[in-house]
């Protein structure tokens, strides 16, 4: 039996079901990260020891700036992969989606070096309230990057068969993955100044 509204838009919502689904999921993600940002504000307001100021000064701003640019670039390659599918350019699609995966990998490698440097200097989540929230927020964000990479890899290799069999449905799948990926970028846009610069 064919599942309705896989490709065509519903009259009531004005979108296909998967897109509505991913938006509802992203709304829940807004609240997840919102709760943690709220915890950041709470901890910062109660910080009488100066842990936030001194902790923030120990972070590597150039590396984080580089990572911000990497993530922004990955958002562009992600949307260009969807554009390529819309224009029927399947080879370009693979190049752009593959680039997104590589850029996500670069982000993780940079984060690995950042974390290693902190651990090497004896800085752990229990070091201060700042580092507790720093590792929680960046760790959760990193898990989202890894989750996104798994899904992108799936659509790049095993899941790519659908591209020829049901091209419109596949294009929609890439759009929904893209929405998730842009959200991950959006979260980092706020994490970067809040943790590294303030």
């Amino acid at each position: 039996m064919e599942i309705p509204y896989n490709v065509e838009e519903r009259q009531d919502t004005g979108m296909y079901n998967a897109k509505l689904g991913i938006w509802l999921f992203l709304a829940s993600e807004v609240m997840l990260f919102g709760g943690l940002f709220s915890a950041y504000v709470f901890l910062r307001m109660g910080d009488v020891t100066g842990a936030f100021m001194s902790g923030s000064n120990q972070l590597n701003v150039p590396l984080a700036t580089f990572n911000t640019l990497v993530l922004i670039s990955s958002s562009v390659t992600m949307i260009m992969s969807w554009v390529s599918l819309k224009l029927g350019e399947q080879k370009k699609f693979k190049t752009y989606l593959g680039s997104t995966l590589v850029l996500a990998g670069v982000f993780l490698v940079v984060k690995y070096f950042e974390y290693s440097a902190k651990f090497h200097h004896g800085i752990f989540p229990e070091t201060s309230t700042f580092f507790a929230i720093y590792f929680t927020l960046t760790g959760l964000h990193m898990l989202h990057i890894i989750g996104g990479m798994i899904v992108i890899f799936y659509f790049l290799v095993p899941g790519a068969k659908m591209m020829k069999l049901e091209s419109e449905r596949f294009t929609n799948r890439i759009e929904t993955v893209g929405l998730y990926w842009h959200f991950v970028d959006l979260v980092w846009i706020f994490l970067f100044p809040v943790l590294y610069l303030l």
Partner: protein, 100 residues
Amino acid sequence: MSGHSVEDIKKSVKVYIGVFAALAVLTVVTVAASYLDLTSGESFFLAIIIASVKGTLVAGYFMHLFSERTAILAVLGLTFIFLLTIMFLPYMALTDHPAV
């Protein structure tokens, strides 16, 4: 985003490149602004303003919210109200302290 004609999509590519350039410039501006001689309150306000502009560009253009249908905008509007509520909850703690 609905109604993607080939022409529309070709036009939107230029917009995406423009948004990318704006995001890159604003990232540099964010870092530069952190070196300004401002109070912590002013720095916080400025950083959040720049991040909000960047976030609006990503959500509006890359996530197509500027051209999205009203159903999802209503859901996200409600989410935004709850987000603002949860962000201002810590300020209620300011009134929790017993008078000294």
